[in-house]
């Protein structure tokens, strides 16, 4: 998965004490319930989004001392400007753990999980991951055109100013 030639920036060291649990299409009731409790406790889901539905979109969850502190989720959608199907990535982190590296710890495993799944399900034609990034939330990190951990690369801006970042899976080819 790693393309060392793509960026000269070294990857961040593993976040200590963070355990990442894969969840993509596993229907793991324990992780799903932890995620539902997490979203309800922090009240971070947009209006109209049911936690039970969002739980089916879990890619992975990060735990610290047995407590869920960060989640990565995705929906698969066709992206017009790239003419391919992408995993639209979302994330949420407990504010108490914003600087713990929990969200960063999810970046590489999330990509690996989705890429392996895409390879195992070629009929899905999943080409990569895409994220819509609030620059204010990411600070100096948002100034990096290529994020070394996830390889998410700046490919444009939304009208509201959010960055559009995408990473193609290595195995993907257009028909």
């Amino acid at each position: 998965m790693a393309r060392s030639a793509k960026s000269k920036a070294p990857p961040s060291p593993p976040s200590s004490g963070i355990e990442v649990r894969p969840a993509w299409r596993r229907h793991d009731p324990a992780i799903e319930q932890d995620a539902i409790d997490f979203w309800n406790r922090l009240d971070v889901l947009p209006p109209g989004v049911k936690p039970e539905d969002r739980a089916k979109e879990l890619i992975a969850a990060a735990y610290k001392d047995g407590r869920l502190v960060s989640v990565a989720t995705a929906t698969i959608e066709y992206v017009d400007i790239l003419r391919a199907r992408f995993a639209v990535l979302r994330g949420a982190t407990d504010p108490e753990y914003r600087r713990s590296g929990a969200q960063l710890a999810l970046a590489v495993p999330s990509r690996q999980i989705l890429e392996e799944w895409a390879k195992a399900h070629p009929e899905e034609k999943l080409a990569g991951g895409i994220a819509f990034v609030e620059t204010a939330e990411w600070g100096p990190f948002a100034r990096l055109p290529v994020w070394p951990e996830s390889e998410l690369t700046l490919i444009g801006y939304m009208p509201d100013g959010r960055q559009i970042r995408a990473a193609w899976f290595d195995h993907f080819r257009f028909d």
């Binding site: 393309r3 030639a5 793509k6 960026s7 000269k8 920036a9 400007i81 790239l82 003419r83 391919a84 080409a127 990569g128 948002a142 100034r143 990096l144 055109p145 290529v146 690369t153 700046l154 490919i155 444009g156 801006y157 960055q163 995408a166 193609w168 290595d170 993907f172 080819r173 257009f174 028909d175």
Partner: protein, 164 residues
Amino acid sequence: MPPAEDLEIRPGWRAGDAQLEADAIAFWQRLGLLPAHVDPQARAKEIVLGAYREGRLVGVMTAIVGPLDFLRARFAFLRTAVDPELRRGHAAATMAYHARELLERWSVEHPEEKLAGLGAALESRQLQDIAKEPYWPGTRLMLARFLPDGRQVRVSWFSHYRVD
């Protein structure tokens, strides 16, 4: 793709290399590569590098620097001309690899230019096969979007560059 080891790469970007420029003009004229409205002298000022084999110029890479509005940054757009005899020799890939290194180094040395990376809009039918691959490791050109007419826009950000 392995580099074409029989090529000697001669850097030319903003170097004012009169010999390289003269060789390039003769090369373009010999092969009839430049459209009638293009001034060879002006095009020669855009040379990034030349590729020589056995002392003879067999490939020229030029670039123009301009904004990519959807990325809010300035990129160098490469043009490549290779002697038809060499097209099977990976010459273009070798030249693109060296061009990236050269332009990135120049960008680091000239931060006032705010050159963010390389850009390319794929037009050639010869690229149809490799266009299926959304990321090219050699030049690190990544498919960033399709234009309405179907052309691919590819970009490769320089590692040192930071978004404003």
